[in-house]
């Protein structure tokens, strides 16, 4: 196993057959095969490092992060603690030892930042995990270069310490060195999070960590609950995405919108909305709300507009009109797109499907105040479901 090239300065750990199969089993619940492979490599790496039969580390290392599969669904790396010292494990399969590329999450998210960063080569075919170098957070920030393309901090190998013995001695002698504080990320409100989660859960989002500005992304995944939600929605798509919260429609009369819904004027500006309302709705509605629905790659990243108009009637009843439009730039809806109305037990009440050149499709119904219903927008196998309460 130890090849002729092994240096006593490196730390070589063995991967047992049991470790392989366990890690593989634990890494299956992910959205795509590359995320599965990433989780597998990270799991092997972490298990090897924590294996006390191979590494007699004092103090014993412990995992310092929660919801690891949720992390590995979107970014590689993990975090361990050795007493007060936090070490980020950065595994990869690269064979050329040219640099250490640390994803930005492990540097700029305050609760994820580490004191040391380990450069690790995982060799599954050779049953080997090789820790070939490390750096301190200071050196990474001083000598590392930030690459905005893939949002990593990259440190040339010439700045890495190749001798793991130096890590041990440093950790023994420098117990009290404090890490440079990382600025906290701007707080995120749950509504914003909800919208982002729905958007980033789409299978079309192959690189969610690059899709939105980092400060927003970091705030989203730093929160364990949101991170878990994102993971669950991505990993178990069932080809449908459902909003967790029920949208309270009555609040629209008080000009309060939630979960990605907006007054029509806010979404498209007064010019466009005038064109919408005169073109589409027969009676003058009391209130309207609109939301952009993203069916992602199914529609070449085109969005659709789901429009709901509410007209109060006598006896606590509400007349609801639902329309599905393309965005103002487009003339027609994509063919085959479906709009469906379901009740709270998911029974289908009404459905309508767009034909080749439809401007919009529409459903209307009456519901009692306090009743709930669901709307589904679907194309091919992908569906998005929104839940409402009158």
């Amino acid at each position: 196993m130890t090849s002729v090239f092994t240096d006593p300065t490196e730390l070589i750990l063995e991967i047992s057959a049991a470790s392989h199969s366990e890690a593989w089993q634990q890494s299956q619940a992910h959205s795509t095969s590359d995320r599965r492979w990433c989780a597998y490599l990270n799991r092997i790496c972490l298990d090897a490092i924590l294996d006390s039969t191979q590494t007699d580390w004092v103090p014993e290392p412990t995992i310092a992060m929660t919801a690891l599969p949720a992390i590995w669904e979107v970014v590689s790396g993990s975090l361990i603690s050795l007493g007060k010292i936090r070490v980020a494990l950065i595994p990869s399969e690269t064979i050329d030892d040219h640099e250490l590329a640390v994803p930005q999450e492990w540097v700029d998210i305050p609760s994820w930042a580490a004191d040391y960063y380990f450069a690790i080569q995982v060799k599954p075919e050779e049953d080997e995990v090789r820790v070939w170098g490390y750096t301190t957070d200071q050196d990474l920030k001083t000598f590392g270069q930030y690459d905005a393309f893939d949002r990593t901090y990259c440190l040339d190998a010439s700045h890495l310490t190749r001798d793991l013995a130096a890590f041990w001695v440093t950790s023994q002698f420098c117990q009290d060195q404090t890490r440079v504080a990382v600025a906290p990320l701007p707080a995120m409100n749950p509504i914003q999070a909800e919208t982002l989660l729905q958007r980033l859960s789409q299978p079309s989002q192959r690189f969610p960590r690059l899709a939105i500005p980092f400060s927003i992304w970091g705030a989203l995944i730093e929160n364990e609950q949101w991170r878990q939600t994102l993971y669950q929605q991505r990993a178990n798509p069932q080809r449908s995405v459902q909003s967790r919260a029920s949208v309270n429609l009555r609040q629209w009369f008080e000009d309060q919108y939630e979960a990605g819904w907006q007054a029509l004027e806010s979404l498209f500006g007064t010019g466009a909305s005038v064109a919408f309302s005169t073109r589409t709705l027969a009676n003058t509605p009391e209130v309207q709300g609109a939301k952009l629905i993203d069916l992602g790659m199914q529609l070449d990243s085109q969005s659709l507009v789901l429009l709901i108009a509410l007209i109060p009637e006598a006896n606590q009843m509400m007349n609801v009109q639902v329309q599905l439009h393309p965005v103002p730039a487009e003339r027609y809806l994509p063919a085959q797109v479906k709009l469906a109305l379901l009740d709270e037990s998911d029974d289908l009440l009404q459905a309508v499907q767009a034909r080749q050149h439809d401007d919009y499709v529409q459903l209307s119904f009456q519901a009692e105040v306090g009743e709930g219903f669901r709307l589904q927008v679907g194309l091919n196998e992908l569906q998005i479901t929104e839940q409402f309460t009158i």
Binding site: W24, I95, D163, A165
Partner: protein, 394 residues
Amino acid sequence: MRPRQEIIELFSTFAQFESDHFRQWLSDSKLRRNIERCLADLAEPLSENFWALYWHRSWQHQPTPLARLHLSAYLQEPCYWAAQKTLTRFTNVQYRLADYFQMAIATIEPILEGFQPERSSSLKTYASMMFLSRVKDLLRRSKEADICTRWSLLRKISKKTVLEVLHHVGLLAPQIEQYRLAWMCFNAVYVQTQPRGTQKLADPDRALWRDIADLYNAQRSQLTLPGSPCDAATIEQWLTSLSTRVRQYLYPTLASLNALNPDGETMPELPDHSSDSLMAQLIAQEEHQIRSNQQAQMQTVLLTALQQLDASTQELVKLYYQQGLSQQQIMQMLKMSQPSVSRRLAKSREALLSALVQWSQDSLNISVTSNLVKEMSAALEEWLQIRYGELISK
């Protein structure tokens, strides 16, 4: 190989090989004239170490070919030493002594860049160590690349290598970005689906290339110049040529031995500011003296620490560092398992480094930082690889 002694010879002659053996030292007339001129200005003779540092400083301030060639001539022995060590340690029928020598001397620039006089005992010992480790890295990389197909190689190569290759080929920034994105999409789609890589990943088929192209087209809005959508054939072509170049880049190129022989090249005469830099160098010489004393103290600390280890571990350290045996050879000789050998060597290095750091803290009154430990680790490595070995011959 006859080791050189004279200053003029040291800085103006190169090793010539004939059918894998050292044959003779070839002199370069221009270098020789330059050295003779420098020496003529001085009243008293100065050590080879002084000149090594002088030319290194000269090269740092003005990286002229002349300075580099003087240093290249000087470092022929360390290079030879590294080539020999490589030959004995790594039995590889493909390469011979002259090849290893060539591989090593080709890495001289980064070595000169990395040399810090305050930290090493001498340029020669630093270079010896670095030549050896660089050739080893080269061999390891090419060995790992050997067992890869062109596609698995693309998966296992660093981003830095990819970018260097793309620059080297002469692509402009927007194109480099496109290739990068294509490579990123390739890595997201062409993935192992079995643990442990038991099943060799098949080459990408047409369907896979289409998936990669689709992903590329969906993502290309993030490029500074998105360009038009790419079809599968284009993506395949890009990545095929990238993988070819990457493989070429990883393998040691063995240019002809005469490439280093500078005769025939016209070189500018070095402008004469020898006097001020000589003065600076003389001062540095004094600092060097202080460092030499420190080196002697360090040696004592390390030898003492070595004796604290148990007998079999001491034996192990001797076999590995002094006699240059491989871990496999040691394993057979001492009847130990390989992990056991590795672990003991690692532990003994920790103990030695600890002793060195403790000594720095106590005698030199330096507070311990991660940087200090890093420096001590480099000093330890130098001592183990070079100076410890020299102790037998003395």
